[in-house]
Point group: D2
Chain length 304, copies 4
């Protein structure tokens, strides 16, 4: 109950702030969303749940899904994965080509577009039907078999994806893409099309805040060491060239998407998802960051 009150109080504060953020509209499906939507959901490691606002309405989680495909690839490749992609913050926008050229086709980290495309390529080398397998993994980790790709968004991404096709071709020219480009991009565009609501999103990422057991294998979804490392990557690279700002203000590892969603984790404590479609200039949810900053300040905990 306490958390819900805090949510409401903070929401009332931040809804007073002039919000010049702009809804992402490079594909029509994102642009059509009501810009004033706001939802938040927190789930603690002992499964207490707290909601506020439009927390039951699904939205396009976009790049947030990159952490899920990364988890799958990391489990398959272990530390060999880092031969194909780095773990450093890029200091550049999410779709930059500059560093790729100076770094011989090795993306700085798996959460910028180029890195997430390499991860798709890695999964294609291991798995026959990666789209189905990824969804199956998400269903298990989220304990929710209703999560699906949006075919309309995947198709729109495909039509608008020239920049991402530039990235994949450039990496292919350096030998860092092993599979057919069209298959890699089809998988990538589907990855970006997953939809969840705040409750589902917070629950999906709980495996990075606490040990969760895969019912099929009776083992943890990720080892403690891997969870630590995935959190470290989110902390340093989850917000592109605003990663420092997010760490500085919020103090938690997290990941944003251009659909206006953010998920953040306090390892050992909780997973929280917030959604507000208007984006700041760096492409991250304006109110989402405001909310999380005030929340971690209010409850006086962060990982630092």
């Amino acid at each position: 109950m306490y958390y819900t009150k805090v949510f409401e109080k903070i929401y009332n504060e931040i809804s007073q702030i002039p919000n010049n953020g702009i809804v992402c509209d490079y594909i029509p499906e994102l642009g059509n969303v009501n810009p004033n939507k706001f939802g938040v959901h927190l789930i603690t490691v002992d499964r207490q749940e707290h909601s506020f606002g439009d927390s039951e309405e699904r939205f396009s989680i976009q790049s947030i899904a990159k952490v899920l495909s990364l988890t799958l690839a990391y489990n398959l490749e272990n530390e060999n994965l880092w031969r194909r992609v780095g773990v450093e913050p890029s200091g550049t926008p999410f779709n930059s080509l500059v560093q790729l050229e100076s770094d011989n086709g090795i993306p700085r980290n798996p959460l910028i577009n180029a890195g997430a495309i390499v991860i798709c390529d890695v999964l294609l080398s291991h798995i026959k039907n990666p789209k189905e397998e990824l969804l199956h993994f998400i269903h298990k980790v989220a304990d929710n078999p209703t999560i699906v790709y949006s075919p309309k968004i995947a198709e729109s991404e495909k039509l608008a994806g020239f920049r991402n096709r530039a990235l994949v071709n450039l990496m292919k020219s350096y030998g860092n893409i092993h599979n057919d480009i069209d298959k890699v991009m089809d998988f990538y565009f589907h990855l970006c099309s997953i939809e969840m609501n705040c409750r589902e999103l917070a629950r999906t990422f709980l495996y990075l805040a606490t040990d969760l057991i895969d019912p099929e294998t009776n083992q943890k979804f990720v080892t403690t060491s891997k969870a630590k490392r995935l959190n470290a990557i989110m902390q340093l690279c989850g917000f592109y060239d605003e990663a420092g700002e997010f760490s500085f203000r919020v103090g938690l590892p997290g990941k944003s998407g251009v659909g206006g969603g953010i998920v953040a984790l306090h390892p050992g404590k909780y997973s929280i998802a917030v959604w507000s479609p208007r984006l700041n200039k760096k492409g991250n949810s304006f109110l989402g960051i405001e909310f999380l900053e005030r929340f971690t300040t209010e409850i006086e905990t962060s990982i630092f």
Copy 2:
């Protein structure tokens, strides 16, 4: 007692690893150090202390001191400070000029050289004798009045400091240096010349792991919010273009110096300092990082 055993065990492991690291020798005073020195010291928030190796021998802490001058400037300027310097990882080496040119003279963060020089300039605008004041602050926070600058190292830095002079002139051309360049650089070169041993270094940084009271003011040295933010900056920017690697492997906020020292913090738990002079290609202590990675793995705790 337990920790000391762990230290010894890890040291025995890592001393078997071939170490191609090179002692930094751009100034003779650094190059003369015995490359095989190794020391570590941990102090918990309840003041238990654990040592191993050459933990009582002083070395040049170099860039680690940049966190101390930053703390002083942050307390004076509060959030206005970030008009002069950013909080983002740079993705480039510590002495790069490239970004400074594209960012109009605003350094990406206060822990790369350019940023630390701006912090010196900020302190010069507030304080009449910044060298003395900074030392006084360190004496208080470290509870140790014996810490001093090394005049020999400060002088050597000055003679070798062309790259840093390029940085300060470039920032001055953008209006981001307000004081006389020679005074700024004299302060900066002194800042880089501070010497401590591992015990002193771990103790000095304890104020970022727990609340410590300034005996002169009866207030915390830094507020909880500022401590969180300083730790976030260290986490994202403390190891230059190896910040991701350090976070990924060690999982703690920390700061390195080219003298081979590293300090790292587990907020709420402990402060740890390690020293080994041989540096990897990114300019960070090779064995220092190896040690800390195994240490946080062994005791199975990190902030993530």
Copy 3:
């Protein structure tokens, strides 16, 4: 007769120079050439012709053809053309993406790959069958109906062209490609596949050294003003990041191809083509530049 003697004398000199140049082999058709081939042909504006060596053997003129497609596009668009592509030397390698990103998809000049791709796109917007039309234009300007594309080389280029596909996708994302990418690239890869011998190459470019009349229109192939401007572009951009070196040493406008060919012009005097397959590190014919430097020094004329 005199020139042929000079050719022989210079050839004897430069064939003594150790040549570490490497034959371009990113596609097998280029790599199979005999690396010791050497040919030169000069044609004066009053149609005296002078040959030496393998001047009758055809080779892949590769990027040299970019001047021909540029000429066609310039005649169609006039000065509007420069809204789509610049006229500045790039200071970077021929296939760099860096500047394209900072310049919003506008290539620095029409002779780097990105610029030549835009020119192909421009021609596609004007002409129904650009491959046929370009060849027809070349037949007229060269007074030689036997010049053809090499389907094998065009196909090989297509299979190896990931980098160029990165360029075209990046430019499309900025709106600077108006036609279907596959059609643009098919035309571009054909453009790069034209084969000529030195005699044919020198004769083909004579229209930039003197006024030649198009028999179909009874007008000059290019106006005096356009010829001047095309020569200026070759002078500044014809050798990628070695343009300064070529101007400095040879003092003539020219264009090179990775097949080892170079064409150079002394406006009002002559057109000269040289071929030697071994390339220097910048991708230009090692002996070709050596030869032309000594030639313009020997006959003591250059445009400067």
Copy 4:
């Protein structure tokens, strides 16, 4: 007489064009000039002279003087000079540091600021009193002992020269400055302070359009080969990142200065100087380029 008429006609045309150019004012001495001044002077290789407008009023030739110090250094070092500085267009603004960092302290060419500073350093290594010697050389080559440095401008440059000091310190850190930085910069700031009128400027550069004999040595001021190479450098690098545009529009080698002066050469024919203080966005005289473009079009000659 003919040329003067052409000058007048063109001036009447271009004075109708809206001129949004801005007088350079980073130092007050440059900002105080009357922005509507306009002068031109042409001298042919057989010493016919043609003037128009304010051709007898002296102005600060600024960077144009860099060709003169380069000539002196080239005569002293011959081809060894190019170990210290390149001959390639930079593709970047005149005072950029970016390339210097990626090129290990070797400036791309001797006409950008960094390159001209290296040339000053080279002269300091050879000559005891380089300021006097350079002026003596100019007096001889210009056949005019009245040309002097402006102490006021040199002093102003010094006070404003932080960017240039960044360049010299950066190059020093790479070992590409051999003398004391203050001496190098004093010489450099004086070099930038030379004043001439259009008549003097055109006459001074005549040695690059035709053979002139040094009365002290009875030899040419520069060999034919060196004159060709100096012209090539001006052609490719004389207008910074507008070099292509100038070549494209004017078709002559030339050099501009932020005082609004431009000198251009038609080797074997003439030297022309034009002055108009309003600069375009690239820092070159707006009307100066307009004038020269129309002039070479009108008389239908260029080097191409």
